[in-house]
């Protein structure tokens, strides 16, 4: 869908301005993506938004994914769009699970893209990714007191076993 043609060039310029920000580039199925260091995500996004080779001022989507069993486990994706040149670019940051009940942390980009407010809350709600600097980080779609991060791969899908005649009487809470 008309992604940037040369992500390597963008990565070189971005690394020139902020060395070490971009770790990898890729262009899979015609979709350009930059893999950035999660600690440098704000710099990278800021540069892309304003920078000379940039202008990606519209954040189309911010979403997270759980790549279990691959490590690092969590990926935060930023789908950027430049409306003048009609070009998209994906920025991806991979976070490892610290373990011990701690949450992976990444900087919040609400200061750059106000649209990220709800979307970061959704990533927090479902994956437990903490966004440093978010004005109001709390659950958005699950009930406020819900425990657990539902869309993590190791969280069970839930639901109940379907009751057929063969398992009728052995299913818990089957009412007589």
């Amino acid at each position: 869908m008309s992604y940037a043609a040369d992500p390597e060039a963008i990565a070189r310029e971005l690394n020139g301005a902020h060395p070490g920000a971009v770790l990898e580039t890729s262009r899979h199925r015609g979709q350009a993506a930059l893999l950035v260091d999660p600690e440098r995500v704000l710099e990278a996004l800021g540069w892309l938004r304003e920078g000379p080779g940039g202008g990606y001022a519209f954040l189309a989507s911010l979403h997270a994914a759980d790549y279990l069993p691959a490590e690092p486990r969590f990926g935060v994706h930023y789908e950027l769009l430049c409306m003048e040149r009609v070009e998209r670019l994906r920025v991806k940051a991979l976070l490892a699970n610290p373990g011990d009940g701690d949450l992976p942390v990444i900087d919040s980009c609400v200061s750059l893209f106000p649209t990220a407010e709800f979307q970061e809350r959704e990533a927090y709600d479902f994956f437990g990714i903490e966004f440093r600097g978010h004005p109001d980080l709390r659950r958005i779609l699950m009930p406020e007191d819900y425990e657990g991060w539902p869309q993590r791969r190791d969280f069970p899908l839930g639901g109940e076993p379907v009751i057929f005649t063969h398992n009728e009487h052995t299913t818990p809470n089957w009412y007589d």
């Binding site: 699950m142 009930p143 539902p150 969280f155 069970p156 899908l157 839930g158 639901g159 109940e160 379907v162």
Partner: protein, 218 residues
């Protein structure tokens, strides 16, 4: 004098006489004035008055004026709105007045998936409705969780509230919902005891306001 006139104009044993409108009108007026007696009275009553019990009459009136509460949750709500619209027209069954306030509604049509966040709200709205009240669980999602067997959807609204009629479908056609409405009407008219109170032995759990007040006073 009038009685003679009637007998001459419309002899009692002739069935054709009852077809004439003028004659019937005169008989009805005579009835009201108290002039019909005996045979004439019996005949007139048999032809023009229905007798019923008070309960049956009340049930008939209730069933034909069920007012649903606006409770659209998800996709089924659109088909519910379709049922109210001109083509499928729930108004001919007395059910087009969708009340926004649960206090004024008789029927809760649960149209859509009930998520775990919404379930307490649904129960609250149901509790705020006044007796007698009924529930139609429209669609697969509110009847049994539907296709969503996961952490977020309550697997059937009858886990936390009594449901009178379940409607299958995803979403059910407006005709299916109307069928459910008609079924509910028949249930209200003929067998008001058939429902969760009889099945779960919960008779006596109704709380009409009058009883509550009397108990307080006592």
């Amino acid at each position: 004098m009038r009685r003679e006139k009637l007998r001459r104009a419309a002899p009692l044993d002739e069935p054709a006489a009852t077809g004439d409108l003028k004659i019937r009108q005169q008989r009805a007026r005579a009835l009201l004035r108290g002039e019909l007696e005996g045979e004439e009275l019996e005949r007139h009553v048999r032809e023009s008055v229905i007798t019923t019990s008070f309960d049956a009459a009340v049930r008939w009136a209730r069933s034909n004026a069920i007012w649903p509460a606006t409770f659209g949750l998800a996709c089924c709500a659109i088909e519910m709105m379709s049922m109210v619209s001109a083509r499928y027209d729930a108004a001919r069954y007395g059910a087009e007045v969708f009340r926004a306030s649960p206090r004024q509604a008789d029927l809760l049509i649960l149209s859509g998936r009930v998520s775990i966040k919404m379930a307490p709200v649904v129960r609250r709205i149901y509790d705020q409705m006044l007796e007698p009240k009924w529930v139609i669980s429209m669609g697969a999602c509110s009847s049994s969780g539907g296709m969503f067997a996961n952490y977020a959807v309550v697997q059937g609204a009858d886990k936390f509230m009594p449901v009178d009629v379940h409607v299958p479908g995803c979403p059910p056609r407006p005709e299916a919902l109307m069928h459910a409405l008609l079924k509910l009407q028949r249930k209200v008219q003929e067998r008001p005891d058939l429902g969760w109170r009889a099945r779960y032995g919960a008779a006596g759990t109704e709380e009409p306001a009058r009883l509550a007040r009397e108990q307080e006073r006592a």
